[in-house]
């Protein structure tokens, strides 16, 4: 059995790959959330130039394939004098890329709050910031949680593209082992199982969070 052979022979490599995948996911997701939150606020805020910058950023990020973006950053950043390791560059790219989707998910959440409530807050003399903090944000958080879960799981899978440029995560390990062992089906089956082992519990935990947020008023 190829599969048993691959597992018994290469499991430490896959484990290290999985650790790297988790590391990439967590760091880039945090970065993406931070970027997304800032961009979403810019996008709906009262300052037109910032709104424009946010829109352009979102449109560009959504129009370029992630792999192309990673390679672009990898070869482009050193040209402008920024030298990061491949891993850091991959995290940056993932964060910047997913950040655009986070911004759109947040914006969609903001739109679930009736416009009249925003007008009421402004009519009471709240500045945009106060209105955002006291009226918009608390009411949109709940509706934003499900799409954020989707993005988190997408982000786990997207980290495979970092493997394509040499970051030693699950997909990279699988490619190496495949080269070594020439047992493609077993190797990539194991890689798929590794991703499942990360993504399924994440989705499960996220659903729990969603349920909890629904109980809290």
């Amino acid at each position: 059995m190829d599969f048993i052979y691959i597992v018994s022979e290469y499991w430490p490599m896959f484990l290290r790959g999985a650790e790297m995948t988790i590391f990439l996911t967590v760091t880039s997701a945090l970065l993406a959330f931070f970027i997304g939150a800032v961009v979403a606020v810019m996008r709906i805020g009262p300052i037109p130039p910032l709104r424009a910058v946010a829109s352009v950023y979102i449109e560009i990020m959504r129009a370029i394939p992630l792999l192309a973006l990673i390679i672009l950053f990898l070869v482009g950043l050193p040209k402008v004098g920024v030298f990061y390791s491949t891993t850091i560059t991959a995290i940056l790219t993932l964060g910047i890329y997913t950040g655009a989707y986070v911004a759109e998910a947040l914006r969609a959440g903001f739109r679930t709050v009736p416009k009249g409530q925003i007008e009421a807050a402004r009519a009471l003399g709240m500045t945009f910031g106060k209105m955002f903090k006291n009226v918009l944000l608390p009411q949109s958080i709940r509706s934003v949680i499900p799409p954020m879960g989707n993005l988190l799981v997408s982000n786990i899978k997207a980290t495979a593209l970092a493997g394509a440029v040499g970051v030693q995560e699950i997909y990279w390990v699988a490619s190496r082992v495949n080269f070594d062992s020439a047992r493609s089906l077993a190797v990539f089956l194991l890689a798929a199982l590794c991703y499942l082992a990360i993504a399924l519990p994440t989705g499960f935990l996220w659903n729990k969070l969603e349920v909890r947020m629904q109980i809290v008023r």
């Binding site: 709050v113 009736p114 009421a120 009519a123 009471l124 009411q139 008023r217």
Partner: protein, 254 residues
């Protein structure tokens, strides 16, 4: 110590000069001139689409205007920013659709702006909130969420919320139009008592009985223009323009 040569009370609290407003190609306000004196209760009537609500919303710049000037309390309305927020804090507004904050209790709806905008401490704000809820007749609903209240109750909370900022003037944009008939009076009663207490008010409404009872002045608008204004007694018994006559005949025949 110097005395101001112009006592403040004779100045208009709200003043619109040559206000024009369009939505795209569609002009909805033509050359509106309107002064509201302190303590005055002005009721704005007219057919739907005549620009009443838009006029009302221009006063606190929920709608921007294309030309003209809006002064509140002697100050020209600024563009966006902190100054606008400061003026808005002094202008209470009550909406057709109540617009209570869905994640806050009735009491929290009332206290949030005093606390966050005026910097009132929570205890004082809560006392004020309870006083206002008592004033609008529903102190027992303090801890209910908007979804648990009837339309009339929600609108009364919304009035209390606006009053909590101690506004110089109150704008009512069709405050009873979204209410079931049996709830209209509970809201109108609160508004009547406010008028009796000397609150300066601009009210867009279709409630002609209320206009007759509570208004100092009735303004009739049609197709974006102020067509006629008079005391309620004068306006309802002796309208001067054909358009006002036509409007009243349609509204008052039942």
């Amino acid at each position: 110590m110097e005395f101001s040569s112009q006592p403040k009370s004779t100045e208009a609290l709200v003043s619109l000069k040559n206000v024009n407003k369009s939505f795209g190609d569609n002009q909805v306000l033509y050359d509106i001139n309107l002064d509201i004196s302190p303590g005055e209760v002005v009721v704005l009537v007219g057919p739907s689409g005549s620009g009443k609500s838009t006029l009302c919303r221009c006063i606190n710049r929920l709608e921007t205007i294309n030309s003209g000037e809006v002064h509140v309390n002697g100050e020209l309305l600024p563009l966006e920013g902190k100054d606008l927020s400061r003026i808005r804090a002094d202008v209470g507004m009550v909406f057709q659709s109540f617009n209570l904050f869905g994640h806050m209790t009735a009491l929290e709806n009332i206290t949030v702006a005093p606390i966050k905008v005026r910097g009132t401490d929570k205890k004082t704000a809560n006392e004020l909130g309870m006083k206002l809820l008592t004033r609008v007749g529903i102190p027992e609903k303090a801890n209910q969420y908007p979804a648990e209240l009837s339309g009339g109750q929600q609108q009364r909370v919304a009035i209390a919320r606006a009053l909590a900022m101690n506004p110089k003037v109150m704008l009512f944009d069709e405050p009873t139009s979204a209410l079931d008939p049996e709830m209209i009076n509970e809201v109108l009663d609160v508004m009547t008592s406010l008028a009796q207490d000397g609150m300066t008010m601009l009210i867009v409404t279709h409630e002609m009985g209320f206009a007759r009872r509570a208004a100092n002045r009735v303004i009739f608008m049609d197709e974006g223009r102020i067509v006629e204004q008079a005391s309620p007694a004068e306006f309802f018994s002796n309208p001067k323009t054909d358009r006002a006559k036509d409007f009243l005949s349609k509204i008052l025949q039942h």
